[in-house]
C-alpha cells in the first residue's frame, strides 16, 4: 500500500475501505446459454411458426384463390429451385453488396456532414432542419429524378441510397453530440482537452451511442432505398437483385416467387441488423453500463 502513515487509526482505514468496496460492488455475471435460448430465441421462433401455421390454415380454408395466396410449401419449392439453380446466393449477394457499398459511401459522407452541422452554428441553422426533414421523405421519391440524372445503372442506385441514408447518419451524429453531458465537457476542459483533443477524446466517444443508433437507422434506410430503386429500375443490364426478383414475380404473375422475394428482403434486412449493428450497439452500451438487464 502507498500509505506511509502508521498510526492505528490509519492502518485500520485500509481494511475498512476494502470492506466498504466489497459490500458496495455488485457481482456481474453472464447469462447462461440455456437462459438466452429460452428467453431470447424461443419467443420469436414460436411467433414465426405460428404465422406459418396460420398461413397454412388460411390456404386450407380457401379464403381466396391459390394464385393470390400460395401455400407455404410452394414458396419453399421456389426457394429450393433457386438454390438448385445456384441463383439464390447470387441474387442476395447482388443486393447486399450494393446495399453495403452504398451504406459505406453514406457513412463517409454523413459522418463529416454531421460533425459540421453539430459544431458550426451557421451550417446548423442553414441545413439542420432540412436534414431532419429529409428523413421523413420516402426515399422512393428519389427514384424518378435519379433515373433521369444517371440512367438505368448502378450509379442511379447508389444515388438513391445516399439520398436516403446520409440524412439519417448525419442526424444520428448530431443528436449524439447534442446529448453529450455538459459535465463531461467541463471535466475534459479541466483536464486540458480543448479544440481537436476535446473532439477526439471527449465529444466523439461520448456521442458514440447516438451515432450508432444513426448508423442502424441509416442501414434500414439504405436497404429500403435500394429495394425501391431495384423494383422501379429493373433492366437486364443491371445484375438480378432481390428487388428485380420481386418485380419479375409480378411480371410473370408468380405469387410464390413474390412471396419468396419479400421474405428474402425481410430476412436480409434483419440479418444485417442482427449480425452487425445490434452486437456493435450492445457492446458499446454494455461497456458503459447502459444496457439494463431485464
Amino acid at each position: 500500500m502507498a500509505s506511509t502513515d502508521t498510526s492505528p487509526a490509519h492502518s485500520d482505514i485500509a481494511g475498512l475501505e476494502a470492506g466498504l468496496d466489497a459490500l458496495e460492488t455488485k457481482a456481474t455475471d453472464r447469462t447462461p446459454v440455456r437462459q438466452v435460448l429460452l428467453q431470447k430465441v424461443l419467443p420469436p421462433v414460436t411467433a414465426v411458426l405460428l404465422v406459418i401455421v396460420l398461413w397454412q390454415v388460411l390456404v386450407w380454408a380457401e379464403v381466396t384463390d391459390e394464385y393470390k395466396l400460395p401455400p407455404p410449401a410452394d414458396v419453399a419449392d421456389s426457394l429450393q429451385q433457386m438454390w438448385l439453380e445456384g441463383t439464390l446466393l447470387e441474387v442476395i449477394w447482388t443486393s447486399v453488396s450494393r446495399g453495403l457499398l452504398g451504406f459505406l459511401l453514406a457513412l463517409a459522407i454523413g459522418t463529416p456532414l454531421g460533425l459540421i452541422v453539430a459544431r458550426v452554428k451557421f451550417v446548423r441553422a442553414a441545413i439542420g432542419p432540412i436534414l431532419s426533414g429529409l428523413q421523413s421523405l420516402p426515399s422512393v421519391a428519389w427514384v424518378p429524378p435519379a433515373v433521369l440524372w444517371f440512367g438505368l445503372n448502378d450509379q442511379m442506385m447508389y444515388a438513391v441510397i445516399l439520398l436516403g441514408a446520409v440524412p439519417s447518419i448525419a442526424n444520428g451524429l448530431v443528436s449524439g453530440i447534442d446529448q453529450v453531458p455538459p459535465l463531461f465537457l467541463r471535466a475534459g476542459k479541466t483536464l486540458g482537452a480543448t479544440g481537436l483533443a476535446g473532439a477526439r477524446h471527449i465529444v466523439l466517444p461520448a456521442a458514440l451511442p447516438g451515432y450508432l443508433a444513426g448508423l442502424k437507422q441509416g442501414w434500414a434506410f439504405s436497404w429500403r432505398s435500394l429495394m425501391a430503386a431495384e423494383i422501379i429500375a429493373s433492366s437486364p443490364d443491371l445484375g438480378l437483385g432481390l428487388g428485380q426478383l420481386l418485380e419479375n414475380g409480378r411480371n410473370n404473375s408468380d405469387m410464390p416467387g413474390i412471396f419468396l422475394a419479400i421474405l428474402l428482403i425481410l430476412i436480409v434486412g434483419i440479418a444485417i441488423d442482427l449480425l452487425i449493428f445490434s452486437p456493435l450497439e450492445r457492446r458499446v452500451l454494455r461497456s458503459r453500463g447502459l444496457l439494463v438487464k431485464n
Partner: protein, 270 residues
C-alpha cells in the same frame, strides 16, 4: 496543537526553498478583488483570498453564496467580471466535482491515463503512473474496471486519482463527497487527509457541511450569500488526523454554524 502546525509549515518552507526560490513567497492561488455578475445579479462581491502552498482551505457557505462560482473561476472555466485570479504555479488547477465525471467509455485506469496523456506524459510512462495513482487511492486492483462496476465511493477515489494525475499544485474540490453515504464520506475524509499530506498539494475545498470543513481544513472561510462575500475566517489549529466525532471539531463547528445561521437569518428579515 500549535507545535504540529509550526513543524508542518517549516517542512513546507524547506521543500519549496530547495525546489525554486522564486515561488517561496508566492501563494498557490491568489484571488484579488474578484467580482462576478451574471447579468444584473451580483454573485461575488470583492473577494480577496490566498491559498498558501500546501494549505488546505475550505470555502463554506449556504446556497447562493457563489462558492462554486468562485471555484469555477479559479479552475479557469469562467472569467471574473472584475479583479484578478492568479495561480502562480502556472499549471492548470485540477478540479473534482460532486459527480465523479469519469468517462464511461474508458476503464478506471484509462481515465487516469487520459489525464496523463493530456498532461503530455510519454506513452510508456502512463500505465505505471496510472497504476501508482490507483494504488495511492487504494484501488490497485481496479485498473480494468468500468466506471459502472465501481461503487460511489470508489468512483470518487478514481476521480481523485485522475485529478492528481494532472500533477497540478492546486486541487479544487466542489462538494466531492456530498452525494456519498455518511460511512463512505467519513472514510474518504481520512483518505483525502492522508493523500493531501503525502502529496503536499494545495486544496481549495467547497462545502456546505460545517463539520466536514472543520474535519478537513487548516483554514475555514465562511462566505455570506447574495452577493457572496468573505464574511469570516477561522484557523483550525487541531492536529490531523482528526475525526468528525472529536469534541474539538464539534465545538468549533457549533461556533461556525451559529455564525452561518446568523448570515442566513439576515436574508429572511427583508
Amino acid at each position: 496543537m500549535t507545535r504540529t502546525l509550526l513543524t508542518k509549515a517549516a517542512d513546507l518552507k524547506d521543500g519549496t526553498a530547495t525546489a525554486d526560490t522564486a515561488t517561496t513567497t508566492d501563494p498557490a492561488v491568489r484571488i484579488t478583488g474578484v467580482h462576478k455578475s451574471f447579468g444584473p445579479a451580483l454573485v461575488l462581491d470583492d473577494i480577496d483570498l490566498e491559498v498558501r502552498p500546501g494549505e488546505f482551505v475550505c470555502l463554506l457557505g449556504a446556497s447562493g453564496c457563489g462558492k462554486s462560482t468562485l471555484l469555477n473561476l479559479v479552475a479557469g472555466l469562467d472569467s471574473p467580471t472584475a479583479g484578478a485570479i492568479e495561480v502562480p504555479g502556472g499549471k492548470r488547477p485540477a478540479l473534482m466535482f460532486q459527480e465523479h465525471a469519469l468517462f464511461p467509455w474508458l476503464t478506471a485506469g484509462k481515465n487516469i491515463e487520459l489525464a496523463l496523456r493530456l498532461r503530455g506524459l510519454p506513452r510508456e510512462q502512463r500505465r505505471p503512473e496510472a497504476q501508482r495513482l490507483l494504488e495511492l487511492v487504494r484501488l490497485g486492483d481496479a485498473y480494468k474496471k468500468r466506471v459502472h462496476e465501481l461503487s460511489g465511493g470508489m468512483r470518487q477515489r478514481v476521480a481523485l486519482a485522475r485529478a492528481l494525475a494532472q500533477d497540478s499544485d492546486v486541487l479544487l474540490m466542489d462538494e466531492p463527497f456530498a452525494a456519498l453515504d455518511a460511512i463512505t464520506r467519513d472514510v474518504l475524509h481520512e483518505e483525502l487527509t492522508r493523500i493531501w499530506r503525502e502529496t503536499g498539494v494545495s486544496v481549495l475545498f467547497v462545502t456546505h457541511n460545517v463539520r466536514e470543513a472543520v474535519r478537513l481544513a487548516q483554514r475555514v472561510v465562511l462566505m455570506s450569500s447574495r452577493p457572496g462575500r468573505v464574511s469570516r475566517v477561522w484557523d483550525v489549529e487541531l492536529p490531523q488526523p482528526r475525526r468528525i466525532e472529536d469534541a474539538a471539531v464539534a465545538e468549533l463547528s457549533v461556533e461556525i454554524t451559529e455564525e452561518l445561521r446568523g448570515e442566513i437569518r439576515r436574508h429572511g428579515q427583508h
